[in-house]
């Protein structure tokens, strides 16, 4: 594999990153995030009880993101009244409520100058805990640059 690093251009950079990642299992690092916006629970998805996992394939060149594509989005759609049962088509349509904000967030990230990498970033959105009557900030856990976990409490506004 290392022999191929003699190639030039973008392909070279990609292959170097793959090589780095492979060695990372023996203790080598991922590129470091130096700035980015705080990921929050996408508001419509949270209100409409859409949860799930979005995997984004990220290409980084010289510390900047040159490409961010959704690799997969596995979402669950829940009816709070427990009557409707949703099918794959509904889940596919709902998945954009999580995947588009995830891509928008990851694109705000900047990496250490000179970083070159290709990696998968996984956003995990969960709704757990007691129902609140007004929205509270979610718990956001970052394991940069590979995992983002956003856990929100369900909320239900009341009118008398």
């Amino acid at each position: 594999m290392f022999l191929r690093t003699i190639c030039t251009g973008i392909k070279l950079l990609t292959v170097v990153a793959v090589a780095t990642a492979m060695t990372s299992t023996e203790g080598v690092h991922y590129p470091t995030v130096i700035a980015g916006e705080i990921p929050l629970y996408p508001s419509l998805a949270r209100t409409a009880h859409i949860t799930g996992t979005v995997r984004i394939l990220l290409a980084v060149k010289d510390g900047s993101i040159i490409n961010a594509d959704v690799k997969s989005a596995e979402v669950q759609v829940t009816d709070p009244s427990h009557r409707a049962v949703y099918d794959d088509k509904a889940r596919a349509i709902a998945s954009r409520q999580l995947s588009e904000p995830s891509v928008a967030n990851v694109k705000t990230w900047r990496f250490e100058p000179g970083s070159n990498a290709s990696l998968t970033v996984t956003y995990i959105y969960r709704i757990e805990g007691d129902v609140t009557s007004s929205p509270e900030n979610p718990i956001v856990e970052l394991e940069l640059p590979r995992f983002v976990r956003v856990t929100a409490k369900p909320f239900k506004p009341t009118r008398d």
């Binding site: 759609v77 049962v85 349509i93 588009e100 007004s134 929205p135 009118r159």
Partner: protein, 592 residues
């Protein structure tokens, strides 16, 4: 056909029918025990008159004469254990139940040696043929042996149930991904996107926007049109031409708001009167030819517990049978509005669009019919189960709520209509749930708002509203509370409808607390004014915040503003025109 000509009716104090005289030809009477369970149901082919206190028929009913034994006085669980047919006691029936109050056996009191032609006996098994089980799947209907050997009964079933509570045996039964049965060995079935049965046995069905079946068609030609009244009952049936002058024409008459069908008229003005049992099942029909006052029995049948028909006389064909639902001759299925029931397998073809109750686990099986207690319970809409007969199949609160909603629907005020309409059709899931209880101190109701992906269009969103109306609320106050909460529901629905698949929404429709409460309280003012009543809201001190009769529009607005500005401890909302409080959907602030 005029029901009041030469006759009239009386009700018991509890609202149950006591006696009624039809067309100078028939008297029907019912009596109830101290638990308000039916004890006798009778009909006779002549008009009898009674004093006002309703003693019931009290003599032999020559059309219908049933005595019900609900174990009153010796058993507490209210299961029907016997029905005596006083016209022909060889057709009397007894019932047995398992520990979960599911029917376990049913048989005539007459054995084979007493009445070979009238006797029948069946055993029912759930989930497993030999060991039984708790999941509520009727898996076997088997003939009784011993004293009943030689009797004739239904063909019975022997099936196994899958983990999805669907039934299978070899290759006979099939289901689609939405859980609708698509094949049962005798027919195949197709369903539309709203899970209505679309076609079977060469007949296609057409539904209106509320899910009511409006037409039947064969090979592209409409063969039957159903004409509904405002309360959702079929008033007329015609062929595809709409003619009232041929044999396809039928006109129906109902006794009460729950839709107890009591008579049919054909195009020659012959009348047919229904004699129904405690479940609303049509047991006898009496024909009164045009111009005559003499009734003749022309249909007489018994029914097996899950709805199978056992006909004794059938010279006037009719299609409204088990619990008064229409049985389609082409498929044998019963149309229960939200879904179809198969009496031969004793279960629904499609899963219950509503959920069951955790406190009654037998209701969690989405296919079972009336929690497998078909002699005691009915399922009038295919959506929920209710106790006893057609006269008591809704709680007092349900009935009062619906009456209040209907009153608001008829209002001339479009805002009041909008509030009443927001609750939707009771047989269709539009995301709104109505319950009764304590909505909080000083409040007549409360509404919580939620949101879901629209089950009928995944690219849209739908408000999920739970409305709690105060238990015991009545009169104009109930109408005011129903419209007040309906206004909140309508506000939420209108905003939810503006959310598109990108998540953008019309924020001008995402109302503040002040805006939605102002809308709602203006309805309290108009409803109470129309009903000539007034009511004080909140703790406004020496000058109470009164709405209703005698309060001018300007004064009402001022009183509402004073009420809304009060702290919650005084029954207010802590909001003013300048500080309007949170949005209806506070987290959705993406502008469109």
């Amino acid at each position: 056909m005029n029901l009041s000509s030469g006759g009239n009716g009386k009700n018991w104090a509890g609202g149950a029918p006591c006696w009624a005289a039809y067309n100078a030809a028939i008297t029907a009477a019912e009596t109830y025990n101290g638990r308000l369970q039916p004890s006798t149901m009778q009909a006779t082919g002549s008009v009898l008159t009674y004093s006002g206190y309703c003693p019931g028929l009290g003599q032999t009913g020559n059309l219908l004469d049933l005595t019900f034994n609900l174990n009153y006085g010796s058993g507490d669980n209210g299961d029907l254990i016997g029905v005596t047919n006083n016209r022909d006691t060889t057709r009397s029936q007894n019932f047995g139940y398992d520990v979960l109050n599911r029917i376990a056996e049913a048989q005539t009191t007459s054995t084979y040696s007493v009445s070979p032609s009238h006797c029948w006996g069946e055993s029912y098994q759930f989930d497993n043929y030999t060991t039984g089980g708790p999941w509520g799947n009727l898996t076997a209907i088997t003939p009784m042996t011993g004293n009943y050997t030689g009797c004739t009964q239904e063909s019975g079933i022997s099936v196994i149930a899958t983990a999805q509570n669907q039934i299978s045996n070899a290759t006979t039964y099939g289901y689609d991904t939405a859980g609708n049965m698509t094949a049962n060995g005798s027919n195949t079935y197709t369903y539309d996107a709203e899970n209505h049965l679309a076609s079977t046995a060469g007949v296609t069905y057409i539904y209106d926007g509320d899910g009511k079946r409006v037409e039947k068609a064969q090979s592209g030609t409409v063969t039957k049109i159903y004409w509904y009244g405002t309360d959702g009952n079929v008033l007329d049936e015609t062929d595809g031409t709409g003619s009232t002058g041929n044999s396809a024409f039928s006109e129906y008459v109902y006794l009460n708001s729950q839709g107890q069908r009591i008579a049919r008229r054909d195009s020659s003005n012959n009348a047919y009167y229904y004699g129904s049992d405690h479940l609303g099942t049509s047991r006898v029909l009496a024909e009164v030819p045009s111009g005559s006052t003499t009734a003749t029995l022309c249909y007489d049948a018994d029914f097996y517990p899950f709805g199978g028909e056992r006909v004794y006389t059938n010279s006037c064909t009719q299609t409204y049978k088990f619990t008064g639902k229409e049985r389609d001759p082409e498929s044998g299925l019963d149309n229960f509005a939200a879904r179809y029931d198969s009496s031969s397998t004793g279960r629904f073809m499609s899963p219950d669009p509503l959920g069951g109750q955790l406190l009654d686990p037998q209701t969690l099986n989405k296919y079972s019919y009336a929690r497998n207690d078909p002699g005691d319970l009915t399922d009038p809409t295919g959506l929920y189960t209710c106790k006893d007969d057609h006269n008591k199949c809704q709680t007092k609160e349900d009935i009062a709520f619906e009456k209040a909603r209907q009153q608001a629907l008829k209002s001339k005020d479009p805002k009041e209509q909008r509030a009443a309409k927001s609750y939707g059709n009771p047989t269709k899931d539009n995301g709104v749930t109505v319950q009764f209880g304590n909505p909080g101190t000083g409040r007549g109701g409360a509404t919580t708002s939620d949101l879901r992906v629209d089950p009928n269009d995944s690219s849209k969103f739908q408000a999920v509203e739970t409305v709690t109306i105060r238990s015991g609320d009545s009169g104009e106050s109930l109408v005011a509370d129903v419209t007040h909460e309906g206004s909140h529901v309508a506000d939420a629905q209108e905003f939810a409808a503006t959310i598109d698949s990108t998540g953008a929404a019309d924020q001008s429709k995402n109302l503040t607390t002040y805006q939605t409460e102002l809308n709602a309280y203006l309805l309290n003012q108009s409803v109470l004014t129309a009903g000539n009543e007034k009511r004080s809201y909140g703790d406004c001190g020496k000058d109470p915040c009164i709405l209703g009769a005698g309060v001018s529009a300007a004064q009402a607005l001022e009183n509402i503003n004073r009420l809304l500005a009060l702290p919650e401890s005084k029954g207010g909302y802590n909001v003013t025109p300048n500080d309007q409080g949170p949005l209806l959907y506070p987290s959705l602030t993406i502008p469109k």
